[in-house]
Symmetry: C2
Subunit: 458 residues, 2 copies
């Protein structure tokens, strides 16, 4: 049924235009099918975006219905504009952003309106000519000062939108021609319309599949740790050439997921600011320690920088003689896999808000492996080998030792979060048994985890 | 004269209220002096922010003066609002942002107005009841579709603001009660007011000390390379413990400047988008290759990640035995200093838009030093030493070798920029002489630069 592009062109180049016209409905149908398919795929890939678009439509339809039935607060025909303006600008993707903008808008309109009426009265007292001089002076001073305040990082993150609305409202009130009694009435009506607009936006945002910035931040922090864990889990296979050569590049894409962590700082900071506007929801209380997530995020990024340095050695790993690599293979494999497990366990702990001693045990295992690596090195295993070959392998060993410290710091930051946000202990969730493996120095212990709650991993 | 805080409190707690009142003018004066001092300091620290605030004030005063004299285009009293709204929202810190928002606003208002009038007519044809049904349907479809388009990364970066204005204007026009003939007139007036507002904003933004996003991006990219150069210049002194121990922590702050480069990605990308809106200015033509700056920025960040890994070895450098470090000291010092010189030269080249072969010569020197380091390593210099001590030092050597590649890639990206943006050759600016130094293998050449144009460094 559906016509492909080239066929379409052929159809249109036919000499018979009637034939062309006949093919039109068919072509339109195929186009419609195509668009529907794209929309369906988009909806499956990004359901939240589709829902947000639906929400914007719903909120505006609500406003237009209100407008149609004209309740008493639409006495001023012009005021519908302010409700529409408010809904379009205030309704954002996340609840935090919507609430923040709504509150900013309402508060700023109220304060600027009051100040505007005050200065308007003051200017009026000085006659028509005085007003013509005083009004611009007031506007210049207030707009300039508030613009300066917008640069203050402390205000900017939470009140930037409010300050723009403050300047806007103050100017509009100052420049309005109405008499004071009328002005107060208009101001009252306008504030009410803005409150109605904000309330509709907030209501739609919260009631229809809400997107919580806090929850997103929570999941992103946990997800980032998982990305690093993926790298560590694949690293030793990749580096020591044990990886299956039939694996395609796509299969190894999990090794590169950490790259998104390198530049995650600004998005995490934005989400933390928005999360602070949000009321309690799901697992999160009102005063959830969102700032602590940023600390974890910073430590995760420090670890990601080390991974970036490590990953460059993967490219040339095959150039290093196998006998040089193999000396440190066992310990490095354990360090890498234990770091991976630490991060995976920590990520799960954060995701499900449970306290667990498992990450610390994995860190202890990794540290034991570091000691074991050092004791291997003390036997001077590369005696006689070329140091040009050694240094790249030594760098990997050294970076891996460093990574253990990073992982430990991430664990510490998470423990702090766990105590601030009162995570529940997870003795029931995992059952750990410590299994010593026979090794050269018997100092490495590997912990086997029996998952008795597989639903956690869904 | 000025009273400090505690004295103020003491003054007010005095039993004699009259005395307190007498002190009031003095206190107010001291407060005013304090505020003036803070403002003066702020102005010295951030002159551009102060100027921007001044510009916002001026633009709004211009609008209010226009309003006072009421030219013919202010026939509709309400329309002043649109000019004020436009100026407040459109006038941004940089010319690129202002132009982008202004053009977005004008175009979106025009298109949405036309579409709104069209759908309004269509809805009108179906009678009062039909209109009540059709208008919300149109609003839902258009607002939903445009909101979906806002998620497209391709549109988002340049037209996000325009799409918001499109939804807003379309809804306002659709919901307006005016008859079609009146509507067209209002639409015409409103578009004119928005054009006037945008023009005032753009004019003020360009005419009073303009801030060009492109120039900022250009300087930031050059500045970031300089920050990395600072690190390399200080690294060997710091690592091999030659640094003056009397130097305070503050003196070494230049070693940590590279940290800001780690998270510079998003700000660079924003500036590149804004720069594309800007007309030719100063040294920059209209189609200046702003995207190439992002490539350089990415390469600079990759280098910064390596530096982050290197810097962690600075902390423990004193734990490494001196005899292990000293083996690689000479070559590593040269690599580090040559990388520093490469980056400094490249930064200067970008800053002054000149092509120079000096960075490549420094890269060649660094590569020679790498070869020399390798030949030192081939003599197995650490024979018999403990490998636990060796690996940290080997990691530094290996990372430094890696850094040379990074620096070379930065140079390549800059060369590409130089050919795209037609940088002028700088034979006249530098006079380079190649001085071979007597070395073990005579393979290292050091280039001395005689600056004949010291003004470049101003």
């Amino acid at each position: 049924m559906a016509l492909s592009g080239p066929e379409n062109t052929r159809n249109c180049s036919c000499p018979n235009t009637l034939q062309c016209l006949r093919a039109l409905p068919e072509k339109l149908w195929s186009k419609l099918v195509e668009v529907t398919k794209i929309a369906k795929k988009f909806g499956q890939d990004h359901p939240r975006r589709l829902i947000h678009s639906f929400k914007v439509g719903v909120a505006l339809v609500m406003i237009s219905t209100l407008h149609h039935f004209r309740p008493s607060f639409y006495a001023f025909g012009d005021n519908i504009m302010w409700a529409v303006l408010t809904v379009v600008v205030v309704l954002e993707f996340s609840v935090g952003a919507t609430l923040g903008k709504g509150l900013n808008r309402m508060l700023a309109t109220f304060l600027a309106g009051a100040l505007g009426v005050g200065t308007h009265c003051l200017a009026n007292l000085s006659g028509h000519k005085g007003e013509a001089v005083l009004t611009p002076i007031f506007i210049f001073l207030i707009a300039g000062t508030v613009t300066l305040m917008r640069f203050s990082p402390r205000f900017k993150v939470r009140y930037d939108y409010g300050m723009i609305i403050f300047i806007l409202t103050f100017c509009l009130v100052s420049l309005s021609d109405e008499k004071e009694s009328e002005m107060l009435e208009i101001a009252h009506e306008r504030l009410l319309t803005i409150i109605i607009g904000s309330c509709i936006a907030v209501m739609v945002c919260i009631c229809i599949c809400p997107v919580w910035a806090g929850e997103d931040l929570h999941n992103e922090i946990a997800g980032n740790m998982e990305k690093l864990a993926n790298f560590f889990e694949g690293f030793s296979d990749e580096y020591f050439n044990n990886s299956d050569t039939t694996q395609t590049v796509q299969d190894k894409s999990f090794m590169h997921r950490y790259k998104s962590v390198l530049s995650s700082k600004s998005s995490e900071e934005t989400m933390a600011v928005l999360a602070r506007w949000e009321p309690c929801h799901g697992k999160f209380k009102f005063h959830h320690p969102w700032k602590q997530y940023l600390k974890i995020g910073n430590q995760t990024r420090v670890c990601a920088y080390k991974i970036e340095a490590l990953s460059s050695y993967l490219l040339h790993s095959k150039q290093n003689p196998h006998e040089v690599q193999s000396m440190i293979q066992e310990s490095c494999t354990i360090i890498s896999s234990e770091c991976g497990k630490t991060l995976k366990e920590s990520s799960l702990g954060v995701r499900h808000m449970t306290k667990s001693s498992m990450p610390n045990q994995h860190v202890a295992n990794a540290k034991n492996a570091v000691e074991s690596l050092k004791s291997v090195l003390r036997t001077n295993p590369w005696e006689g080998a070329d140091y040009v070959d050694i240094i790249a392998v030594a760098a990997v060993a050294s970076l891996l030792i460093d990574v253990v410290d990073c992982t430990e710091k991430i664990c510490e930051a998470i423990e702090e979060l766990a105590s601030l946000a009162r995570f529940v202990p997870s003795q029931l969730l995992h059952q750990g048994t410590v299994q010593p493996i026979s090794k050269r120095d018997d100092s490495i212990h590997v912990i086997t985890i029996d998952e008795i709650t597989p639903r956690l991993y869904e």
